[in-house]
């Protein structure tokens, strides 16, 4: 159990690092990602999401009118809920 805990993957990720990760994906620094962009990154890069995971994330993150994800707000929201 201790090994699992020590393994990096379960460490909590600080907010600012998370923000920078999003910014890497948004080099133009628009402050948001389009739905297609997020889907592409999450399902093709890193350890890809399943379709269910993708849908779940989208349902919470997306702004339905503009079909974009304003990641700064999204992070802030999730962090509040977590605590």
């Amino acid at each position: 159990m201790t090994e699992v805990l020590l393994e990096r993957r379960y460490r909590p990720i600080p907010e600012d690092i998370l923000l920078r990760a999003f910014e890497v994906l948004d080099p133009a620094k628009r402050g948001f990602l389009s739905k297609e962009e997020l889907i592409k990154y999450m399902t093709e890069e890193g350890e890809p999401f399943s379709q269910e995971e993708m849908e779940e994330m989208l349902s919470a993150a997306i702004d339905p009118e503009s079909n974009t994800i304003h990641y700064k707000d999204y992070i802030a929201m999730m962090v509040i809920d977590e605590n």
Partner: protein, 780 residues
Amino acid sequence: MGSGSSTQHHFAFQNAEKAFKAAALIQRWYRRYMARLEMRRHCTWSIFQSIEYAGQQDQVKLHNFFSYLVDHFTPSSHNERDFLNRMFTEERSPQDSEMEKSSDYESIEVPDSYTGPRLSFPLLPDHATALVEAFRLKQRLHARYVLNLLHEARRHLVQLPNISRLSTCYSEEITVCGKSQSETALRDLHGQLDDLIFIFYKNGLPSPERAYVFNGDFVDRGKDSIEILMILFAFMLVYPKEFHLNRGNHEDHMVNLRYGFTKEVMQKYKIHGKKILKILQDVFCLLPLATLVDEKVLILHGGVSDTTDLELLAKLDRHKVAAIARRQTAHSLVTVSNCFEKYAAGILMLPRFHQDSKADSLSLMNNAHKAARAGRSSSVPCSVAPDPKELSRQVRRSVDLELERCRQQAGFPAIEEKEEPVPSASEAEEQLEPTQEEWRQVVDILWSDPMAQEGCKANTVRGGGCYFGPNVTERLLQKYSLQFLIRSHECKPEGYEFCHNRKVLTIFSASNYYEVGSNRGAYVKLGPALTPHIVQFQANKATHKLTMRQRQDFSMNDFQEKKNQNYSVGGRFEAQMISRVEASALRALREKLFAHSSDLLIEFKKHDKDKTGLVTLSDWAAAVESVLHLGLPWRMLRPQLVNSQTDNMLEYKSWLENLAKEKLSHENIQSSLLETLYRNRSNLETIFRIIDSDHSGFISLDEFRQTWKLFSSHMNIDITDDCICDLARSIDFNKDGHIDINEFLEAFRLVEQSCSEGDASDCPRTTNTNSSACSSPGAH
């Protein structure tokens, strides 16, 4: 140029790598988040379930206590004896109900000003639909129509067999719903009526082509139980062949006393409430015990045992099995009363609140002797008095073992020989009471739960019925050539659950059972192939707005459901739900902790040999579990329950004091008394309701004193008469020495306040003796 392109490639590669890593980081974060959410949900779930089951155990213990008293308590005065008799004698006799005239309700006038639904019999489908609509609009059915409907329902039920039969030849599909009631916690939830309406909306109203089976537990806990009953009975009368009801363990007037249905009826119907409750007692016993579909699928509320005998169940007179929790009189249950004697002997031995004085040791020994003489309890030592605490420990352990053995022997099924039904003392009794075996068969059907292990053992958590394993299921299915069982009785997070190799399906139709967002509901549909098709849902405010008429306009295409059609999954919503449910669960848990403060203090001190006032956090967890026995992951919960620790150590005394501060105590009452009251509050409330046999809402001061005497002797609480008088004086008495039950409980914050204005913020728990204006809150 060459170097340029390689630099470009280099950058391109770096960018790609960065993007990859960034994506991976986001995914990792998200997954961790979801995992934590799931863990919190599961944890919260455990809290609610364990508290719920502990409460049910309480219920049965309480009634066991009453049985014991009936047999062994020596009333010191004529008054006391009468009082006891009044408390414990069943008034009803079947002859009465036969002779109940219809003038019972015909004499009730419905005023012209009444704007609620009006019923005329025989009922037509439109009436039933109109009733649903009316209730959705929060109208109330007049007592006259309630009684009329119940009379008609009773007439219909009387001619039904114990095991109803349904065939998919006649109805193309059969929908099975389990447990339509849900919990209204501290805030004003919409109530379980929503779920029922939702099911009709989503699945369609009952009709000759659309059969329904409702698998018990229609009442208690929510605030619309009577409305749900009315709807169910109305459809039952309109579509008698296609609409079936099975009895659940909550269709039992003793259970109703504790879990809120009795209170709901009295509040809503006041003077007519009594009549309604009386006829309901009958109606409940007349509900069929099970439904069989195509002779292949058995639908019943709880489960089965290794002695379940469908032929016996089909033959017995179900009308006789009234309140499951009411046991037979002492004459016919010798084994059981032995058992309780020992239990009580053990209780009397426990020096909970006594000082370690010589006199007290003597009195302890005297009690033991008395009990020993009366009850042949060999487990109680009769020699020189040892240290009372040690004694209590010994006795408690041996009593527990004895109790377990007695329980298994006395009728909660283990693998034992069938008991001969003991002949009752008089013929009259025999007519009124079921035999031991019949009683047990019914209890098993209504109270049992499946378990993963093979075998069959007593269901000690619920205090009735058994846990049955896969082999028991298999044997039963083979014996009667059945394909599988459908049952309810247990709340499941997803609304349903298969077990025993998909031979047992638990279906639970009350979403938000513990709290808003706590779980989904589900129902199951059976077609001619008898393959179960599960539909999940979670009712929310949105469904309120749709009327039945609108539903009929929707095409079937709109309701091709994938799973989770109406439930928006996704981080934020889910998280909010879970937070709310969690907060509720933790609050309940803190109350429980407070209610056991004294015991906890003792436990903590054990872990604190050096008297530093501190314990380690793991000691904290061990102590809490050994007192509460809830089997919860205390280490995980600790951060939510303990916020005042330094260096892994906890100052337990101040932590306990903080808990108490949340439960504002009344100035005149000692905190230990308050704690005792609080711990036993649902028992107390039930006792009060039993005493208030005319359901007036008032008990006399005398009855109140007697209650306290009985109760405190059982709990071995040292309360003097003066103390009781103090208690009484601190309540707002202004009614010729009568106590309004609610006022009393209110004064000690024993009843949960329901914020009826729908303000969802934490309900204030301030004690305010002057607030007699509070309307009766929803208790639990």
